[in-house]
């Protein structure tokens, strides 16, 4: 680079390292996506462009049912988590500190602190006894487990949004004889909506991505897409897994872009 005078913020070598880091971050992901379009069976040699593995994955019943299960669980869990997180955010922000508030914060953020493997083991033990006692084997266990660890991810953007809203509009509504429910429904909720949407999307992505807790909680035949992929990995590596990964990757990028637009527009 040509000498452009002395810049205080420049530290020698830092830009080079940063560029290498970005290349190193994206090269593996790009490799994965490129090889999902490889015509050959081998994951090593490039044999021409083909959508074969996407077609194969689409035709695979195990993949189909795992996909539907993943989406169903993520949808239920994100709705439950977002509803609970919205209420908790309304209860813990914009009011005087109250007794037990710290305890509530700790409880809500607890899934971020405890290692996933420990929670997974705890749920395995707990749900195993419930399964024996009640005989119920359904998806409810996965949905409630996912709802729990999604709560902090839904809570954080909603709380951030609430803290940025001042109380003057709500006070104005109350001055105009709106009932507290009317105020909430017509004033608070519409203003809070972008935060709720952002929280729901994060919860959805987090649920969709989970491997460890799902792996321990699921009963037989309840594979989600990530646990199915992990199971495939144990046997032989197939480009089919690359194809599924690429689709999930595209979905994540899409949701993230939407999330950024949602949170930025209303700054």
């Amino acid at each position: 680079m040509a000498e452009r005078g002395f810049s205080v913020a420049r530290l020698p070598g830092f830009s080079t390292i940063a560029i290498v880091v970005f290349v190193a971050l994206y090269l593996p992901i790009i490799t994965l996506v490129v090889y999902s379009f490889n015509a050959g069976q081998s994951v090593a040699v490039w044999e021409g462009f083909s959508l074969k593995w996407y077609v194969d994955a689409w035709a695979n019943d195990a993949v189909k049912s795992a996909t539907l299960r993943s989406l169903g669980i993520a949808l239920c869990a994100s709705i439950i988590a977002t509803a609970a997180a919205t209420m908790a955010a309304l209860g813990t922000t914009r009011r005087k500190a109250f007794k037990g508030q710290t305890f509530i914060y700790v409880m809500i953020n607890q899934p971020l602190m405890v290692p996933e493997i420990v929670t997974a083991v705890a749920l395995l033990i707990f749900f195993a006894s419930i399964k024996v006692a009640t005989g119920y084997q359904g998806l409810g266990y996965l949905i409630i487990a996912h709802s729990a660890f999604c709560i902090p991810f839904a809570y954080l953007p909603i709380r951030a949004r609430l803290e940025g809203m001042d109380l003057s509009l709500e006070t104005a509504a109350a001055d105009l004889y709106a009932s507290s429910w009317q105020t909430f429904r017509r004033v608070t909720l519409p203003l809070l909506a972008p935060g709720i949407m952002a929280g729901a999307m994060l919860a959805f992505v987090i649920s969709l991505d989970d491997v460890v807790i799902t792996e321990f909680v699921k009963s037989g035949g309840q594979d989600t897409l990530p646990t199915y992929m992990l199971g495939q990995m144990r046997r032989a590596l197939t480009p089919e897994v690359n194809a599924i990964s690429s689709v999930l990757l595209a979905l994540t990028v899409l949701l993230l872009t939407a999330f950024f637009l949602l949170t930025r527009k209303n700054d």
């Binding site: 880091v21 994206y26 439950i80 033990i125 590596l237 993230l256």
Partner: protein
């Protein structure tokens, strides 16, 4: 305080708790509560086919460090367990150090871009952060496995004549963890560098400090909260890692997470698994307390 204020405070407390109740109920049922059951299980006797028998037994906790001789019941230090703990701690420290070494320049680079470009670079770091950990592990596997990108390129260019075999070794797990946890280091570092006042650098240089002196004496002390946050955010999940060592380490190079799973699978020793989980949880809590203290200390000092 007047009676009216008292009543108001009581209402605030009640509403706060009522509104938080659903979230607390779900978290108690499916996250925090079951941890207590794990603690109880760590003091029970392993059942023959997994699960437990309800009889008090300390073997789970003893089994963390020692093995019992099957003939004379003498206790011996369990070498296999020791090597797993050592590997977990060593790889977690190495991962934290390498992600800091390359993550700090990266965060600095992002924070010193013009505002528009900065948003883009930040977005580029955020995408891997939110991408499924399993997919990122598969991606790095594509690069480092025996017939992967790295070996293909190196063999083709004639730099090596035999593929470098690092898959299913500690090195592979280390590379994988550094790759998947790097964004966790960069984001908090960026947050604290972003708040850093670049005028301080001018002051440093005006006083004839060298670049190295400015870095060591001005920048690093001020962005320390970000360094602590990033290190904890990388160290804690590394210590409890399960997916990355399972995929890249094969069956032999277990870390604590995989060792815990083993006890609930083939090992059929639930109390040992429970005791190991509690130990991991304890170590993580100590690390987090250390972090909270460091963060609070920072606040007090301004």
């Amino acid at each position: 305080m007047s009676a009216a204020e008292d009543a108001q405070a009581a209402t605030a407390t009640r509403n706060g708790w009522l509104l938080s109740a659903p979230a607390l109920a779900i978290l108690t049922f499916a996250a925090a509560g079951p941890l207590l059951i794990v603690l109880v299980y760590s003091f029970l006797t392993p059942g023959r086919y997994g699960n437990v028998e309800w009889a008090l037994n300390f073997d789970g906790w003893i089994g963390i460090l020692y093995t019992k001789d099957i003939f004379d019941e003498t206790l011996k230090l369990a070498d296999a367990n020791m090597s797993i703990f050592w590997r977990s701690i060593k790889l977690s420290f190495l991962t934290t150090i390498i992600t800091f070494a390359v993550g700090f320049p990266t965060a600095w680079f992002i924070a010193t871009r013009p505002p528009k470009a900065r948003a883009l670079w930040l977005f580029l770091i955020t995408i891997p952060f939110w991408t499924n950990l399993l997919i990122r592990t598969f991606a790095i596997n594509e690069v480092i496995r025996n017939e992967g990108l790295m070996n293909t390129v190196l063999l083709w260019s004639g730099i090596i004549s035999e593929p470098i075999r690092i898959i299913y070794t500690d090195t592979a797990v280390f590379i994988g963890m550094a790759y998947v946890y790097l964004p966790l280091m960069v984001l908090p570092l960026f947050a604290s560098i972003d708040r850093f006042d670049m005028k301080l650098l001018e002051a440093g240089y005006d006083l004839y400090a060298s670049r190295m002196q400015v870095l060591r004496r001005v920048i690093l002390p001020i962005v320390k909260p970000g360094i602590v946050a990033g290190s904890i955010l990388v160290f804690v999940p590394s210590l409890g890692a399960y997916v990355t060592p399972r995929v890249l380490g094969g069956g032999k190079n277990m870390m604590i997470g995989n060792f815990i799973e083993l006890q609930f699978g083939q090992g059929r020793n639930w109390p040992l698994g429970a005791a190991l989980s509690m130990t991991l949880l304890f170590v993580v809590m100590v690390a987090l307390l250390f972090y909270v203290r460091a963060a609070n200390g920072e606040k007090k000092n301004g």
